[in-house]
């Protein structure tokens, strides 16, 4: 494993996932806060679908090269994620608000758990690297 690839594979995907989960968390929190605001439309971010797109086509996205001499770099550029309006449930409030509080709360819990899971995997991954760096001596 070259040093170039050390942080490229799983870790960069985990990074993406954590990023999107925290983005989704912000959206969910915003929806919950606006639960009683008339005409507020809830937003959602389908992290799984966005990740599919990412791992499918631009897994190895590198920095933009506008000139030949530019280095590619290891980091991925931020691709646009699509934030959608929440799909309409069975009912919509009379005041035009589309927040479905049960859905938002379960989404919040689910998102939270998956964020924790990703963070845990990331941690283990880094621990593994550390062990390799120290030659397994510790």
């Amino acid at each position: 494993m070259g040093s170039q690839e050390m942080f490229n594979g799983t870790i960069s995907i985990l990074e993406k996932s954590l990023d999107m989960r925290s983005m989704k968390h912000n959206l969910l929190v915003s929806n919950i806060a606006n639960k009683d605001t008339p005409n507020y439309k809830a937003f959602d971010l389908a992290v799984e679908e966005e990740m599919q797109k990412l791992t499918g086509t631009n897994k190895t996205v590198s920095l933009w090269k506008t000139q030949d001499g530019h280095l590619g770099g290891n980091g991925e550029t931020y691709s646009e994620v699509s934030i959608t309006k929440s799909s309409k449930g069975f009912e919509q409030n009379i005041d035009g608000n589309t927040v479905d509080i049960e859905k938002e709360m379960t989404n919040l819990a689910e998102n939270n758990l998956l964020y924790d899971a990703m963070a845990q995997i990331m941690r283990k991954k880094l621990q593994g690297l550390k062990v390799a760096i120290q030659g397994g001596s510790k």
């Binding site: 606006n34 639960k35 009683d36 008339p38 937003f43 646009e80 919040l108 845990q120 941690r123």
Partner: protein, 145 residues
Amino acid sequence: MNFIDALHTSASGLTAQRLRMNVVSSNLANSNTTRTAEGGPYKKKNIIFASQPLRTDFQNMVQSQLKGKLTEVKVVGIVDDPRPPILKYDPQHPDADKNGNVSMPNINLIEEMVNMMSATRSYEANVTAVNATKKMAMKALEIGK
């Protein structure tokens, strides 16, 4: 985009719901008040919520994907309810008019109780969101451990 934003958003929700609770309390406490500073019986107060884009994070303002999508709640006003006062026949009352009717505040107790319960639940939802945010932030800090 960061967790501080999420906390700010939840905080705005908490503030708004607490204010709503204050308004409900005021309505309940004054359900029999016939004299006020502006004259006449107490008028039921209504609170108006509006969503406004979060202004705390510069990154969001320029980043197109989340621009305008993260919104906090703002209380834009507390207004008097337009419903007319209820006339109650009570000739002994000091505030009775010459026909013996007293203007009582038009407050529907059931309406207020429902409002109160709704405010409580919304407040709880926001508290849960704050806790979730804190948990996520702590987990992120643990990555480097």
